[in-house]
Amino acid sequence: MDNLWTSFFSASFIFIVIRVGVPLLFASMSAYTASLAGIPNIAVEGIMIFGALFGVYFSALTGSAWGGLAGVILIGVLMALVLAFFTMKMKTNPIMIGIALNLFAADFSIWLLLVWTGSKGTTASLPSKVLPTVNIPFIQDIPILGEIISGHYFLTYVCFVLAVLIYILVYKTPFGLHMKACGLDEHAAESVGIKVNRVRLIAIIISGILAALGGAYLSMGYMSIFSNNMTASRGWIGIAANAVGQGNFLIVVLTTFVFAIAQGVVNRLAITNLPSELINTIPYICVLLGLIGLSIKEYRKNKAR
C-alpha cells in the first residue's frame, strides 16, 4: 500500500494523467465551443464513438494513419452539419437531437462493426494504423520533465496546441467575442450585425472536429483498435466539465484535469485487489460531486441576492 501511495507522486503518474486526460480535454473543449455560441452539443459522446470507429476504418482502407485522421475530421464535420441543420434550420431542441445522435452512434457503430468485421466486439481483424508517438528531441533527455512531456501520442500534442488556439480564438479575436455574443443573446448579437447562424455553424463544426479527434485518440493511440463502447461516457464527462466551467475556458480545462486525475487513480488502483466495478465509478462520482458542489454554490449565490 505504501508503494501505491508514493506512486501517485511520481513522474509516471503525471504521464498517465496526461494520457487519460487528453480524450476528456477534447470532449470538454468540444462541449465548450458549441455551448459558448449558444447551441449546446450534447452529441459529444456519439461523435467520439464515430470518430474512433471511422478513424480505424479509414486508416485500414487507405493504409495510412493520416488517411484515417482525414476520415475522422470528415465524420466530425458531417455530424456537426447534421446537428447544425436540425438546430438552426429545423428548430429542433438541441438536447433532443443530441440524445438521438448519441443513441444512433452507439448502436450504428456496432452494426458497422458487424458488417465490416463479422463480429460485434472489436476491429482487431482490420489492418488499421495508429498515429505515431512523438519523442521530443532534447527535452526527452531531461530527467523527470522529459519523462512527463515527451513520448506521448501525436494527438496529445495536437490537443494541447488546439487548447491554446481555442483560448486565443475565444479571448483575443473578434470572432470569439461574436461567439460569446451569440451565446448570451442571439437577438442582441443580430442587432449589431453579427451573422448569428454563420458564427454558430463555425462553432459547431469546430466542436464536431474536436469530439471526433477525441474519439480518434482512443482508437488510434490509446488503443490500436475500436471496441464496443470504448468511449465509456468520456463525452459526458467533458460536458460536465464544461458545465462546471460556466463559460470560463481555464476553469473548464482545470476541471477536466481534476477528472483526469481521478481516472489516473482508477488506472493505478486497477492492479490492486479492490473490486474493479466499484473503483471504476470513482471518476463519475467525482463529476457528480463537482456538479453538486457547483449547483449548491449557485444556489447560495442566488439566495444571498
Binding site: T92, I99, A100, A106, L114, G118, L278, I285, L288, L291
Partner: protein
C-alpha cells in the same frame, strides 16, 4: 351562417392541424424506411428480399408476432417513465441506471425462497413493487438536486447511470452470483416470482397486461388529475408550478419518484417475464431507448405505446433475421430510430410545404 357553410365546403384538408401531423409522421416513416433500404442496398447482395422480410417477418407466425409484443413491454415502460420527465421539462435519462439497479433489487427477492410466499400472484407483485420502490427512491436523488439546487439533471443522471451500473454489477458479482456458471448469473428466479405466459405458443407474458394498465394510469394521471395538469403546465412554462399552488419542489420530487417507480417496474417485469435469472453483465440499453420512445410518441402515453410497438416490431424482426443474414442485426434498426426521432421532433419539417399550400388556397379564394 356563411362561415358555417364555408367550413362545410372546405371538408378534409391536409393542411389542417391533425391531418398535417399525421402526414408528417407518415412522411418521416417513409423517409426512414427508404434510407434503411438504401443502407441495405449498400451491404446486402439481396436487398429487396431482406427489406421485405424485415417488414413482414413478425406477421408470419403467432410466435414471431408475440416476440415483437414481448420486446415492446420494457420499451413502453421506459418510455412512460421518460415522458413524465419530458412533460415536466426535465431532461433526465436516469431510467437506464434505474433499470439495472432495480433489476438487481428484484433479483434479490425473486431468488429468495425465505421471503417469498409461494403464491405466484403475491410473489410477482412483491418483486415488482420492490423494484419500483427502489427505482423511485433512487430517482429522488437527481430529483432532490434538481428541485432544491436546480442542478443539471441530465449530466447528473448520466453520471448516476455509470455509478448505478458499477454498484449493481458489484452487488450481483459479490452477493448474488452462482459459482460454476460461465459469465455472471444469479441463481434462477423462483417459479412463483416469474410472470406467467398468457398466449399459447408465444412468449407473451402477463407483463403485457401490467403495461396496458400503466399506459391507462399514466394517461389518467396526465390528463384527468390536478397533478397531471401541473406537470403539463410546468413543462410548457417553468414558472407555472410556482403559481399553481403546488410548490415546484414537491412537483419535481413526485415526478421523479413516479418516473423512477415506472422504470423499476419495467425492469422487474422484463426480468421476471423473459429471463430465468439475472444475467445482465452490461447495462441493457432499454432506459435510453425509452427516451426515444417518449420523443417518437410525442410525450403522450398512447403515442409511446404505439412507438414502442413500431420499434420493437422492427427490432424483433431484425433479431429473428440476424441468425440467417450476415448484415441484418437489431442494431440496424437504429437507422430508422434516429431518422424518425429527428424528423418527428423537427418543428420545421414540411412547414414550408404547408405554408405554400395555405398561400395557394388564399390566392384561389381571392
Amino acid at each position: 351562417m356563411t362561415t358555417l357553410r364555408q367550413s362545410e365546403k372546405r371538408g378534409f384538408k391536409l393542411t389542417d392541424d391533425a391531418p398535417f401531423e399525421a402526414l408528417r409522421i407518415l412522411a418521416s416513416i417513409a423517409i426512414a424506411l427508404v434510407v434503411t433500404f438504401i443502407v441495405l442496398c449498400l451491404v446486402s447482395p439481396t436487398p429487396v428480399d431482406d427489406f421485405v422480410s424485415l417488414l413482414t417477418l413478425p406477421m408470419s407466425s403467432a410466435f414471431n408476432f408475440g416476440f415483437a409484443l414481448v420486446k415492446m413491454i420494457p420499451l413502453c415502460f421506459a418510455g412512460l417513465a421518460t415522458l413524465l420527465y419530458f412533460r415536466t421539462g426535465l431532461f433526465n435519462l436516469s431510467t437506464e441506471g434505474i433499470f439495472y439497479i432495480s433489476g438487481v433489487a428484484c433479483t434479490y427477492f425473486a431468488i429468495n425462497g425465505n421471503i417469498l410466499t409461494g403464491n405466484s400472484f403475491l410473489d410477482s407483485a412483491l418483486c415488482i413493487a420492490v423494484a419500483g420502490t427502489v427505482g423511485g427512491l433512487i430517482a429522488l436523488i437527481p430529483g432532490f438536486l434538481k428541485a432544491k439546487f436546480a442542478a443539471d439533471e441530465m449530466v447528473i443522471s448520466l453520471m448516476m447511470n455509470s455509478i448505478l451500473y458499477g454498484v449493481g454489477f458489484w452487488i450481483v458479482k459479490t452477493f448474488l452470483a452462482v459459482p460454476g456458471i460461465t459469465g455472471t448469473s444469479s441463481a434462477p428466479f423462483l417459479d412463483s416470482a416469474r410472470l406467467s405466459l398468457i398466449i399459447k405458443k408465444t412468449q407473451v407474458h402477463s407483463g403485457l397486461i401490467i403495461m396496458l394498465i400503466m399506459v391507462v394510469l399514466v394517461y389518467l394521471l396526465l390528463f384527468k388529475t390536478r397533478l397531471g395538469y401541473s406537470i403539463r403546465m410546468t413543462g410548457l412554462n417553468k414558472s407555472f408550478a410556482k403559481y399553481s399552488g403546488m410548490s415546484a419542489f414537491s412537483l419535481f420530487m413526485v415526478v421523479h419518484f413516479l418516473a423512477g417507480f415506472l422504470g423499476g417496474m419495467g425492469s422487474a417485469v422484463e426480468l421476471l417475464g423473459v429471463y430465468r435469472s439475472f444475467t445482465w453483465s452490461v447495462s441493457p440499453g432499454l432506459g435510453f431507448t425509452g427516451a426515444l420512445m417518449a420523443m417518437l410518441g410525442k410525450n403522450h402515453p398512447v403515442g409511446v405505446m404505439v412507438a414502442a410497438f413500431g420499434i420493437s416490431y422492427l427490432r424483433a424482426s431484425a433479431q429473428l433475421l440476424a441468425n440467417s443474414s450476415p448484415v441484418i442485426d437489431i442494431k440496424l434498426v437504429s437507422v430508422v430510430e434516429v431518422i424518425l426521432t429527428l424528423l418527428i421532433s423537427s418543428q420545421y419539417f414540411l412547414r414550408k410545404w404547408r405554408e405554400k399550400q395555405l398561400l395557394k388556397e388564399e390566392q384561389k379564394n381571392g
